[in-house]
Amino acid sequence: MSKLYTFLKYFFITFWTVFVVAPFLWAVSTSFKDFQSVNSKVTYIPWLDFEPTLEGWRVLIKSPAKGGVDIVEPYFNSIFVTCTASLISIVLGTLAAYALSRFTFKAGFVRNNDITFFFISQRIMPPIVLSIPFFIFLSTIGLLDSLLGLVVVYIVLLMPIAVWIMVDFFNRVPKELDETALIDGCNPYQAFYKVVLPNSIPGLIVAGMFCIIFGWIDFFFAFILTFTEVQLLPVKVVALNSSITPWWSLSASALVSVAPLIIVAFIVERYLSKGNLSGALK
């Protein structure tokens, strides 16, 4: 029984690992191919199956005028939009979460839980529902096709995540902590800033990582709300996916754009193993 269980366990783990890694391996292999080795028959291993070339990687940094793809600018756009929106969401979300966790609010039938639910419920909204009014809203105030406009939209996507994680986290930070600080003569802001915040760093890191992940992987808003002036990475990569797809540069650009967040996977795992995350994520 237990031997069978161990066997099944390792079988399943191996199977899942292969499943997870397979598309990446395929992308790495494809990124070194040329037209011939993509379109004649299915090839896998460089040198053995096909003659590898760096063309797929080289076009990424060439300017469009020379037939390149130029993903450098979209790359920085994506980093800027994701980081700015995450930062704003974390700051505002953390403040709001602290208020919701420590004070009681009453307005008519609205209680703390209802306000928290209001924040989190924004995630229910499908992007498509928001995208049409946002399109018209942003064009009215002249922010269509601009980085700032995207930041505004991404705040709606990310603040619910920050509030969700931080409310949970603050509920776990003992109240006595701020009460002691208040007795010691701090005002509520000092108590928050000097005592509670330093004790909430694991929560802030988790919230920050989640915001960055969900900001970085968004496609739909970037797709609808930008055209030529500003392009984000996912839109740029998907634009390559046309009828005569250059699979090689597509794969190379895909790998380049998913690479930075894979580092996040390592950070998440570190926090998980240290046990810091268990508190931060329910």
């Binding site: 997870v20 403040l95 208020a99 420590r102 049409i132 990475l233 329910k282």
Partner: protein, 288 residues
């Protein structure tokens, strides 16, 4: 505490969110009562004509809605089962534990739409590796993207690949935070691993499971990127989900007014059904 301070903490976030959202929501409701399309791009008032059309004369929307329900429930159930299994396996000591944990987390960190482009080449019917390798085993080429039934499963495979890590992360974090005492008690009683799971682990994990399932259902109901790139709703309308249908009506056919009607109706249905699901799940799982 002094009541003034609490508003200083809450209001910036609350008002920024409301400030950004108030216009889109009011605008959507108003737009849904208009006949804005590419011929008459103006905010006229046609009453509830759009809503009547939706409820009496648009089977395609309801089909896409049921398809969405099927896809999201199936993917979330699969993600939950697989995610739980994976979390259980790397919860306790195992060789290369940390390596597997990282590997299991990776797909969640990748941009769905970009990975879907890779999946598209992966499942390509003549030039993709899947059919090639299966062909080596003597299997006939499978129409991953152009068969109406199989295309649904292809979407499910990609969604499960992408989002099982999220479930895995929440459940593993939950498992790691469980108290030790119930497990010691079960060990002293000599409970088998199976009974330990059914009577100790699973009940303790119930609240976390509910949270994780609901979050994933909310996110899964927005399936869009995968469908958009992988199949474009096709073949025919075989993988068309509500979001994608609204997208076609609104931003391809420019029936803005009608698309707003669809959006608003869809949003109301989503909020109601997710609330009901949350209540039912809480009842079912906590009682066990």
């Amino acid at each position: 505490m002094n009541f003034k301070h609490k508003f200083v903490f809450l209001f910036p976030g609350l008002f920024v969110l409301i400030g950004i959202l108030i216009f889109p929501i009011i605008f959507t409701i108003r737009l849904s009562l208009s006949g804005w399309n590419s011929y008459t791009p103006e905010m006229n008032f046609i009453g509830i004509t759009n809503y009547i059309r939706l409820f009496t004369d648009d089977p395609r929307f309801w089909e896409s809605f049921f398809r969405l329900s099927f896809l999201s429930v199936t993917t979330v159930v699969l993600q939950y089962v697989i995610g739980f299994a994976l979390a259980m396996m790397v919860w306790r000591e195992i060789k290369f534990k940390r390596f597997f944990r990282v590997i299991f987390l990776v797909p969640m960190m990748t941009t769905p739409v970009i990975m879907t482009v890779i999946w598209r080449t992966f499942f390509h019917e003549s030039l993709g590796p899947v059919n090639d390798l299966l062909g080596g085993l003597g299997v006939k080429p499978i129409l991953w993207l152009s068969d109406p039934v199989i295309a649904k499963f292809t979407v499910i495979i990609v969604e499960v690949w992408q989002w099982t890590p999220f479930m895995f992360l929440l459940l593993l974090a939950g498992l790691l935070s469980l108290p030790k005492e119930p497990f010691l008690a079960a060990a002293i009683d000599g409970a088998s691993p199976f009974r330990k799971f059914v009577y100790v682990t699973f009940p303790l994990m119930a609240p976390i499971s509910i949270g994780a399932i609901i979050i994933r259902l909310i996110e899964a109901s927005k399936i869009m990127d995968t469908v958009f790139v992988l199949t474009s709703g096709g073949p025919g309308t075989a993988t068309e989900t509500s979001s994608f249908y609204i997208y076609i009506k609104g931003l391809r056919e420019f029936q803005m007014g009608y698309a707003a009607t669809l959006s608003f109706t869809y949003l109301v249905i989503m909020i109601i059904s997710l609330t009901i699901i949350a209540k039912v799940l809480t009842k079912l799982m906590i009682k066990e």
